[in-house]
Amino acid sequence: MISAPDVVAFTREEELEDDLYREPPLPEEYSVPLFPFSGQGANPWAKVAGSKFTRDFILISEFSEQVGPQPLLTIPDDAKVSGTFDLNYFSLRIMSVDYQASFVGHPPGSAYPKLNFVEDSKVVLGDSKEGAFAYVHHLTLYDLEARGFVRPFCMAYISADEHKIMQQFQELSTEFSKASECLKTGNRKAFANELEKKLKDLDYTRTVLHNETEQQKKANDKGYYTTQAIEKANELASVEKSIIEHQDLLRQIRSYPYRKLKDSEFHPYEPDCALDRADVGSDQNPTASDPTELGETHLYTHVPSYTPKLIKAKSAKCFDKKLKTLEELCDVYFFTQTLDQLHHIERTFRGDVCYLLTEQISRALLKQQSVTNFLFEDVSVLDEKPPEKQYRGCQGLGQDAIDEKCSEESLAPKVVISLGSYKSSVECVPIKMEQETEDSEEPKMSESVISEHQENLDYLDADIKGSISSGESIEVLGTEKSGSGLTKSESQASLPVIPSPQAGRSKVGSRRTVSEDSIEVLSTCPSESLIPEDFKASYPSAINEEPYADDDEGGLRFTPRANPGVDDGQDDISKEESLVQVDAACCIGKESPNFLEALPELGQKPCEEDGVVRIPPQPYRPAEQGLRGGFPSHHGLPGGLLPCELDSRYLTGSREVSKSSLDECSDSTSHISSAASTCSDRTPSPAHPACAAGERHRKRAGQNALRFIRQYPFAHPAIYSLLSGRTLVVLGEDEAMVKRLVTALSIFVPNCGAYAKPVKHWVTSALHLVDFQKWKLIGLQRAVSPAGVNVLHALSRYSRYLSILDADSKTLRCPLYKGTVVARLADHRTQIKRGSTYYMHVQSILTQLCSKAFLFTFCHHLHLPISEREPEESVVNRRMNFLKHQLGLANEDIKIVQYLAELLKLHYIQEPGQGGNPLLRFDYVPSFLYKI
């Protein structure tokens, strides 16, 4: 096996990724029918993109009082992005669904115009003709010159993939709210400045007028007023009224409730706060300064740039003046901040939704494995804190957590919308919606509520999909108010009828109306805050009933695929439960209740036909009661009872499965939503912006690792060395080559703690024992100099602690490996071609290993005697039995798990403050020399 000639065929130096599509053709019987749209980056589930733009983008438009809806800018700012997509048209669409007619003016009962601090509104809308779906975030900015002092704007995230918008609604909303908050903060500041200037103008005008009136009075002492004088007096009066009004406006804008900002974890920079206050102070004791004495007043010396102007009584017609640009409306600083934020949003959400979801799910899962996740995960991923919050959007929440969530959500400034204002705004929209009367059941269908029952809703969703009516070009796919008159429209086929469980979250609640008008709003703001408290308690039943009611009415079609899947899942659950009970009796011991509770949830995962985690993971509630870390979530948990189907799926090495493209196989998580996802986006998708670099590194490492396992027949013992904690030294003359090997192998190195990987890419001096404690993978220079000989002497001296991979002569000296885990991890016959895919494959196997190590570590009776009198030998026997039979480990695999278990123990018992002494564990085992 070691020197099998077929291995050599794969040994290539060039970047395999580039050759992806130039591979020699497979034999006919193995070939998978080519996907007609296969191109770089396309996935086989991708729908033909009907959109006219190539990738997602962000559009900012304004409803201008002069020209109507108009697009202002796009992000990325590239004409190619929007392509032939009609931005003007789309601006019209998105601006016309702004329900937030924020009223500024004289409200009845108020003497002065009143500013409304309106909340932003968020809607999702789709335009199936254009193939565009958008998250639209409306906001109003204040402009003194504008009608009613307000200028409506909106920011829209436009994508060809409806599911992305729906599923990422929460995340989009959060991110856009930040941007909006930033814009509005800048705007308030600018508006206040503007008001101040205006006040000065008015003041000046008043003084001028006053003087003129006085002069006139003096000039004519006839005892009666000329019409001219009366006019002047009127003018003066109106100016004075205007001053009062503007002062009131200024007071209002300054009294903006800043506490909202505090709640929203977002603190926009307030650079000139102090200065503003100073201005206020100076304004509050208005001086009747004569404009002629202006030069002498020092009151305005700190704003020397501004000279008050005389204001004409009749202002110019609004069409004559030029409206302020967005940049002028907001402070330049805040404007750029906003742009940064928007760019950030664009980067975050670009790419196919399946990547986003996979990433979010895996991050959420990883967070739960708090005990084991340090072993193989990127430190950067673990350190970030946002994921939890972001993830909440697509994650079902435990029922008990809902209240908490609601309260949190309502704290956030963005999502809340008052029912009253909403009602009124609906009327403004020229959409024919069959509104039911105030049916309070509708709000219950809010997403967070529903997501908990997603498993029930898989099929339901399919049906709703089926009822999409898109005869018109823009659809309101659902609002809180949209009627439940669910009618199948003839155009239903315009969207594929594919079950897409993820979409359930946001779509279950949505009902379509057949609207003769052209706009369909997919959904509006999440309405948790609208749910009456007493309904929250009862919603589960409401949800379960409603689908079936719809069934009769709207012709639910149960997809035949989903149901058996569910059944299977249940079978699995019961099977696994029974297995675990056995298991628990013998080894899990006292922790078994937790274990049992955890499993049904785990069992859900495989229930999907395509072997995919279709349901966004539920929080493992047992984990909260039990061990601090959740259970690693894969169904290989019951150890030795590892189902063989799992093996066949994950065993990329096994030849039996080679028929299905293994690339996809290990990539299976991407099945999740891709069934329905449109391939709108051909840009590479960084899973998370923060780890974009990490992602690249992973890809690179995966690629190198793939090459390594193909090129070196002794990859297995080398990887075994790394996994069992024996330092591997890569020895070579060529730095680049050594570094490449080190990078390749680094993905197999378990972390010793929550700091960086114990990998040293390049060392030129002799190694010492301390190095082996610190580093588990070392790239070492082979030099011909006397120093080089020292280096080799040190290597030979410490050879018992080391495995040595000689990159120059292609030899490996390390202990023998006869286990099976590494064979799965690194099969040189693997069909995986992409580095990132292989990386994922490795991660999945390593996660399995981690969970075994976790079980092994935390089973009390495996390490400590049950009773006082129990001899040590029987504990040892039990331990070995567990490893061999329960965890199904063979030979050297045991050592891997033992090593990981030691790391877990050390990590757990380590006091937070101390680094702890790194210790070196080793075995006295003979080494062998492997050659190519």
């Binding site: 039990g626 601090r628 290597l795 030979s796 390490h863 002494n917 210790l919 085992v925």
Partner: protein
């Protein structure tokens, strides 16, 4: 292996040279030490390790700093600064007189001609004496009398409070190299080639007046005495630089037996030539002695010799136990012997009887690949020859510990807790039984789980 690494065939000399040293290879079933902790702190050669109690030890060396360590966790407890030069002697001292509470001290002597007493509980310097005319080279605590002795160019007697009780006149410039307590309030001091017996006497009224008297001078050694130990109440043993070993009666200070050049080739005529080649004064000096009730174990040059007091002869030896001088040896309770050497390695030996021949050496197929085969074979042959000539016992290599990159000066055996070694590479390594440590960690883990309330016992 080295040859393989270098890739050429030009480096075989090294291994040929070493061929006489027994090697064990990488598979060491009986070696319990599968985990190690490196304790860093010293900035120069670490020469002394001294045990304070069951789980603490102190280390000292040429940097003048004394460290206190926890032998279980490897935690650094205290760093004691006070000496400006290298430390020349260290001794633990526990007093429990006034209150029943036992307090541990350590006394250190340094080349800066001071002696400091440290409190191990607080890490504080208790007292410092700097009235010495020369460097104190050895310290001995006479626990029974509650006094301690310092040996330099003269011999001083101190009580616990560091009051000088009495002292001898100036003995020699070279100073006392070793001190050992003998019965009847006597001490033996090695001064150059001479062995001087002193008697310590408290004066009649029992008050503060002490006296120290020279009782006898023994001049049997041909060369400077390098080591001096007390075997039991009846015997003590000295060794010299040219390899004389003399067994003395501790009561009347007469020579009971002596073994001169017992490592000499006379015992092994067939390997004589080789021995002679490598024979040099340094090679035959008695570096260190240790003993149990029956035997004295001597580190002589590169070899280890077991001298039976009853039979008055060497019963087992390993003539080239290490690649270079053996610096320290110690006998373990389980018939094992540990030695450390200038070559940076520590070896574990087992004293076996001839009848219990080990099984045939491990199949050499693998070793051959690494070039170990030849070495092994020779070692085996040597062992066989030894069996023919040496009586009853032989030393079998059980395991070796390789970690230090320079001479291992000393080690301290902590029983279950493991083994601490100190070296010229400034490091102390704590060798531990991996299995035991692993289960200890499990214990800690579950204790912590219970503590944190993470372990909810659902019955």
């Amino acid at each position: 292996m080295l040859r393989w690494l270098i890739g050429g065939g030009r480096e075989p000399q090294g291994s040929a040279e070493k061929s006489s040293v027994q090697t064990i290879g990488e598979e060491q079933i009986q070696n319990p030490y599968t985990e190690l902790l490196v304790l860093k702190g010293h900035q120069d050669i670490v020469r002394f390790l001294v045990q304070i109690d069951d789980c603490r030890f102190a280390s000292a060396g040429d940097d003048g700093i004394v460290f206190l360590w926890n032998a279980q966790t490897g935690e650094k407890l205290y760093e004691l600064h006070g000496h400006t030069h290298k430390i020349t002697a260290i001794a633990p001292f526990s007093s429990s007189d006034v209150t029943e509470e036992k307090t541990d001290f350590i006394i250190t002597a340094s080349a800066d001609r001071t002696v400091i007493v440290w409190d191990c509980a607080s890490g504080r310097q208790v007292q410092k004496v700097s009235c010495f005319h020369s460097t104190v080279k050895c310290l001995t605590v006479l626990q029974r009398l509650n006094v301690w002795l310092s040996g330099g160019s003269d011999l001083c007697v101190w009580n616990q409070n560091l009051d000088l009780l009495c002292k001898t006149s100036h003995l020699t410039d070279a100073g006392i190299s070793a001190l050992v307590e003998l019965p009847k309030n006597c001490v033996a001091a090695a001064v150059g080639k001479e062995l001087i017996i002193f008697r310590l006497s408290a004066s009649n009224n029992g008050s503060e007046v002490w006296n120290i008297l020279e009782v006898k001078r023994l001049v049997d050694h041909q060369d400077n005495i390098s080591s001096l130990i007390s075997v039991n109440d009846l015997t003590f043993v000295t060794g010299s630089y040219i390899g004389e070993l003399i067994v003395w009666d501790a009561l009347d200070w007469t020579k009971q037996a002596s073994e001169c050049n017992f490592w000499d080739s006379s015992v092994h005529p067939d390997v004589q030539t080789e021995i002679k080649l490598s024979q040099s004064p340094h090679e035959s000096s008695v570096q260190h002695l240790t003993s149990d009730d029956e035997c004295v174990f001597a580190a002589v040059g590169k070899g280890i010799y077991v001298y039976n007091l009853q039979m008055k002869r060497v019963i087992a030896c390993q003539r080239t136990a290490h690649d270079s001088s053996v610096l320290h040896i110690e006998k373990l309770p389980n018939r094992q012997l540990i030695s450390c050497s200038e070559d940076g390695s520590v070896r574990i030996w087992e004293l076996r009887e001839k009848q219990q021949l080990p099984a045939e050496p491990v199949p050499t197929g693998f070793f051959n690949m690494w070039g170990f085969g030849r070495a092994n074979k020779q070692a085996n042959q040597a062992a066989k020859k030894m069996q023919e000539n040496t009586p009853v016992y032989f030393l079998d290599l059980v395991g070796d510990l390789i970690g230090h990159s320079s001479a291992v000066q000393m080690f301290l055996y902590f029983g279950e807790l493991g083994l601490a070694t100190c070296s010229a590479d400034h490091l102390i390594i704590l060798w531990k039984d991996g299995e035991r440590e692993s289960s200890l960690r499990s214990l800690t883990l579950f204790q912590k789980l219970a503590q944190n309330g993470d372990l909810q016992l659902k019955l």
